[in-house]
Symmetry: C2
Subunit: 354 residues, 2 copies
Amino acid sequence: MAAQRRRPTQVDIARRLGISQATVSLVVSGGPASFQVADETRRAVLEAAAELGYTVNAAARSLKGGRNRLLGLYTFEPVFPVDRRDFYFPFLLGVEEETAACGYDLLLFSSATARGDRSIYASGGNRLKVADGCVLLGRHIDRAELAELVREDFPFVFIGRREVPGRELSYVAPDNVGATRDTVRSLAGLGHRQLAYLKMAEDQEPTRDRAAGFRQGIADAGIGEDEVLVHAMDDPAAITGGLLQEWLADGITALLVEPSEDDAAIAAVERAAAEAGIRIPEDVSVALLGDPPLSESTRDWTRYTPPREQMAREAVRLLLELLDDEEGRPRQLLVDCRPIAGETVAGPSAGRPS
Amino acid sequence: MAAQRRRPTQVDIARRLGISQATVSLVVSGGPASFQVADETRRAVLEAAAELGYTVNAAARSLKGGRNRLLGLYTFEPVFPVDRRDFYFPFLLGVEEETAACGYDLLLFSSATARGDRSIYASGGNRLKVADGCVLLGRHIDRAELAELVREDFPFVFIGRREVPGRELSYVAPDNVGATRDTVRSLAGLGHRQLAYLKMAEDQEPTRDRAAGFRQGIADAGIGEDEVLVHAMDDPAAITGGLLQEWLADGITALLVEPSEDDAAIAAVERAAAEAGIRIPEDVSVALLGDPPLSESTRDWTRYTPPREQMAREAVRLLLELLDDEEGRPRQLLVDCRPIAGETVAGPSAGRPS
DNA sequence: TCTTGCACTTCATACGTATTAAGGATCCGG
DNA sequence: CCGGATCCTTAATACGTATGAAGTGCAAGA
């Protein structure tokens, strides 16, 4: 059998049956209009379609204005490297499953190119537009590209809260404000009053949200702004044993650490503590403001965890809503995080027999 | 600013500048033809394009040109469940990276649907055809669907050797024949002559290849067919301590175990050995014919491992070759596996002080 | 017989792009 | 003033599909 290079089209089916392309379209498009075609005709069309191996040309369909039944997933940073794997995996899983459950296929936009030219607007145009809409993911987003996406009015939902000046975006995000506030409250409930808060230096939305939660938390607990210490970590190596000792000498009894996708910050704290002979939680309590991969640490950190898989599913659902909404009004969803009581938090005087 | 519902097209740019759509196309398509346009005109077009936020319509472009710059990845079984994750991950990674490196995007066909209706031909047609070509993956393939794919002349490359009667397929596969043969040889080199070979009951190509390698291996070593025992595992639970004891009593000194994507078979052997107080490798040597996830076992098994990530990259490369080949001649590539000398193989008399 | 309605099918067109052959300038040599 | 060459631009068309409008044939009702 010689290879038939060209794929069969509706016209091929129509010609073979001596009917019109329009009728074929009515049948194979399946919709409600399909029932206005005579049973016999419909059967013949379907049979011929199967025989010729016909499949709808997605490009043509979406050109016409219809949908592609393709959803995109774009991440602003590589998802696959091993140290990030456990962090991103639940998102991937959730998006994949929900997309499938809704009858869509998933377009995974190339992430880690060898040349590092990671961009939505790589080859002249917006690659994402092949899909009907897109789920976006990642911490180190390109603001210019995001703004451009918004300007183009392309439907997308971000996982994680993101802002663009003068425009509301759609997102599904963990309630970092509330979770951080609750963490502070719970530390305060144990008697901690002098806190050190290690925040990330980069001023992203999640960082701002945690900062807001922190302020709420200390306000609720009646702790003054002057009793706490806020330290921006630009370089994890700057967290030294000496620094920790200084803090403890100043009366600090608990640390709040904002993690990233890798566990650099946590590793730094752990190392610094070991270096200075400081015990966790006996000498100082440590709570993480999130749930990083923790591949290097075997410790059971006190932390809070967002329901990642569920967030991903919600993102897909929101995106589909968005697509069906003629006006494309943005959707926003905050989800609660689950606190995990680990072994790194204790009362403030645990290590100091009084 | 009100949301502009319709995206700007080449026609919009042309109208604004009072030129024709064709000229705009020449400019924005960028290619060599772009230079036949007067500099001034080109600048004006690019400027207007930027101003209007024009982006090329991927659907229209691919409708015209035939190619989508999309490659598909379809797996015949769910990739994401945790116990399979480590097994499939290198494949995913390799396909993803190579696809990106070649300037394509990756279409990840939905795997685990809630309703379990996992099929290429789910909604009337071949879903894969949205992509220019497809990488296929998975052990439990649907033969009928595969045959149909072949009949439709859809370009694909399988990871793993697959056969369809009367037709050559394209694949990248580990050299299971050679690797199994070498495993047998190396056992024979240690003095093992009476071997038990636990093969999978399902008669898939990889199983047949290992069986062929096994026969080659014992022939090379001058071991008779009657000195070996071939056991088809239909149910891992059937591997009991008693069975192992029987085999040892018969003089068997080494086991070859064919693994699957999960580690059921290996777990079964380990359990049975423990049950009967049989030590590995003192009482019996065990070599695996492959490299399963081994999530439950901490033992360092003697085995061989295919270069999974590399295989995936090769598969993508072969697929692109296939697409560029007008005649679509099948490509086949066998890759060597790397033997891993673990701690589960020793000489035949290790446990019997003579 | 002439409507009227119904069931089914087709016509015609639009979607946005790439491309080819042809069109219109302008200029030069003869 | 013509042939021809060069340079730039455009008209026309095809890609495969979806869809509203229009058409066909037929049976039933007036």
